[in-house]
């Protein structure tokens, strides 16, 4: 079965589509659950995680690397969930956090600005200008977040398998299309795609465990053979190796763990 990520702007009816798709296919619909899980597991207040995944990094964040750490926690929680398959994720950045997994159907739902403004005005009891300003600010933040952390524009259609505009097409029509696409052979979980997902989950777990002390590590995993890439020098390298030994015991599914220092990071590394 498939994993479906639904990307959306605020008030873009993506949540409605996600819930209906999940109900029709009998999948789990998740969004905030991932943050709660990450918050619980890594003992970080949920609000900090929400800010990490919503607001673009400030200059201070770039030095503190706290945002990268929080995103690693969220990614770890999401990949753990996604590993169970049959989910519809409509939280932020699903298409980026689950990048490279073949059985992920990446969907973006858009709505025209007028409808979004009307929804925001109704919900927040504010005027049209204020609603527009809030939406533009929100969109700007989301775009800046993705651009600064992953170098891509979330509005770029080529990041998705399907982009549906709720205007002439209704929410139910969008649900039909998403379900139709999700049932296709390309999005069925195969042995090889499951391995890719398993490896991504392992790599994310390793990264989340290390990122607190070693923010600049990158991790890859292939059939449980994990390679940690680092730029750290000899002394820190020893500390990393000690930590790695403990990880081997802690994280399930690791066959072998190696540390490579000074090598360029592979593009698919977490």
């Amino acid at each position: 079965m498939a994993i479906i990520t639904i990307s959306r702007g605020s008030y873009s009816k993506g949540k409605e589509v996600a819930e209906k798709v999940a109900a029709r296919l009998g999948y789990n619909c998740i969004s905030r659950e991932v943050l709660l899980e990450a918050s619980k597991r890594f003992n970080i207040p949920e609000m900090k995680l929400i800010r990490a995944i919503h607001d673009a990094p400030s200059i201070l964040d770039r030095f503190q690397h706290s945002k990268q750490a929080y995103i690693s926690y969220i990614r770890s929680a999401l990949t753990q969930r996604a590993n169970m398959d049959n989910i519809v994720y409509h939280g932020l950045a699903g298409h980026i956090l689950l990048k490279g997994v073949p059985h992920v159907l990446k969907v973006r739902i858009t709505v025209n600005m007028k409808d979004r403004i009307a929804s925001e005005m109704e919900r927040e009891s504010i005027g049209e200008k204020e609603a527009l300003a809030l939406l533009l600010k929100d969109d700007h933040e989301r775009r800046k977040w993705t651009k600064s952390l992953y170098g891509v524009d979330p509005w770029d259609s080529s990041l998705y398998d399907l982009v549906i505009r709720i205007y002439k097409l209704s929410v139910d029509d969008a649900v039909d299309f998403v379900c139709q696409a999700a049932c296709r052979q390309q999005f069925k979980t195969t042995d090889s795609s499951r391995h890719i997902m398993d490896d991504l989950a392992i790599a994310c777990q390793v990264k989340a465990s290390l990122v607190d002390h070693f923010f600049d590590v990158a991790v890859t995993s292939e059939y449980g053979n994990v390679i940690i890439y680092t730029k750290t020098r000899e002394r820190q390298g020893q500390r990393l190796k000690k930590k790695v030994e403990i990880l081997k015991e802690e994280i399930e599914g690791i066959n072998n763990l190696e540390v490579h220092a000074g090598l360029p990071y592979p593009p698919d590394a977490v």
Binding site: S157, D161, R165, K168, F177, Q180, A181
Partner: protein, 274 residues
């Protein structure tokens, strides 16, 4: 029944899907073949019309005036063809000048960057690095073309009702999705949307008639009433308005012509400086 427009960053693949959709629905298929009749009608080489759709005006290439004129010819021909509904339109940028007409289903077809690079490398027999450069240049060119000619960003997903990435979703599935969407009530032609289409076609015909003498003309049409906006000096206003009325008056479908002559401030400044 509706009109379906296709736009894509991969011309060949989207043409294949557009053709299959037309066949599946039994619709008329309109593509760049229409350019041959335009070329004959206006006595222009067909290659120049193709260039108009692919390139922006440049100092060494096509002049801005010629580009605008040729594009107007193409628009006129395409809109004329699409008056009958039940049509699939591909490769003539129709999605950019059919905005706001409710029975038009606008579909975007995308392909992953790497796949496009491989295709270009195979077709042009060049290295992957060179192919990447070509694809990036094409992307920039497409965006600039739509911004220059229609002030719209081709890559903006809100210009489409649905965008399908065929690197993951196979063409047959895409055809099936598009065919399903055409059955939805919102894409059925209504009296109003048909009238909008007729108005737009009339405006395109009038614009073609005026472009030669009035390169800056902007035309709107509603129920046979045509409003033409031209630039003129104060002393020319009357003469130019009469000329517009004379040129447009005989066009079929035109019942009344209104001319708005706007003061040409640049020419006025140039003349006062003499």
């Amino acid at each position: 029944m509706p009109i379906i427009t296709f736009s894509s960053d991969s011309y060949r693949k989207s043409r294949e899907i557009a053709k299959k959709t037309a066949e599946a629905l039994g619709y008329k298929y309109v593509d760049r073949k229409i350019l041959s009749s335009v070329a004959v009608k206006y006595d222009i080489p067909e290659a120049k019309l193709i260039k108009t759709l692919d390139e922006t005006p440049s100092f060494m290439g096509m002049s801005s005036k010629a580009h605008k004129q040729y594009l107007a010819y193409i628009q006129e021909a395409v809109l004329g063809e699409l008056l009958d509904d039940n049509a699939v339109c591909h490769g003539v940028a129709a999605h950019l000048y059919l905005l706001g007409i409710s029975h038009v289903l606008k579909v975007g077809i995308l392909m992953d960057f790497d796949e496009r690079v491989r295709q270009v490398a195979d077709q042009e027999k060049v290295s992957i690095e060179k192919a990447k450069k070509i694809v990036r240049r094409q992307e920039k060119q497409r965006k600039r073309w739509s911004l220059d000619n229609f002030n719209l960003d081709e890559t903006d997903p809100s210009l489409h009702d649905m965008v399908i990435n065929i690197s993951q979703i196979d063409p047959e599935e895409a055809v099936s999705m598009i065919s399903t969407a055409t059955g939805y009530r919102k894409f059925k032609p209504m009296t109003y949307s048909i009238k909008c289409m007729q108005d737009r076609e009339l405006a395109a015909r009038v614009r073609v008639a005026l472009l030669k003498d009035f390169p800056d003309v902007r035309v709107q049409a509603r129920d046979g009433t045509v409003v033409a906006e031209i630039k003129a000096l104060k002393r020319e206003k009357h003469r130019k308005s009469s000329a517009v009325k004379e040129l447009v008056g005989n066009i079929s479908g035109v019942h009344y012509v209104e001319v708005h002559a706007i003061n040409d401030i640049f020419r006025q400044a140039a003349e006062s400086g003499r």
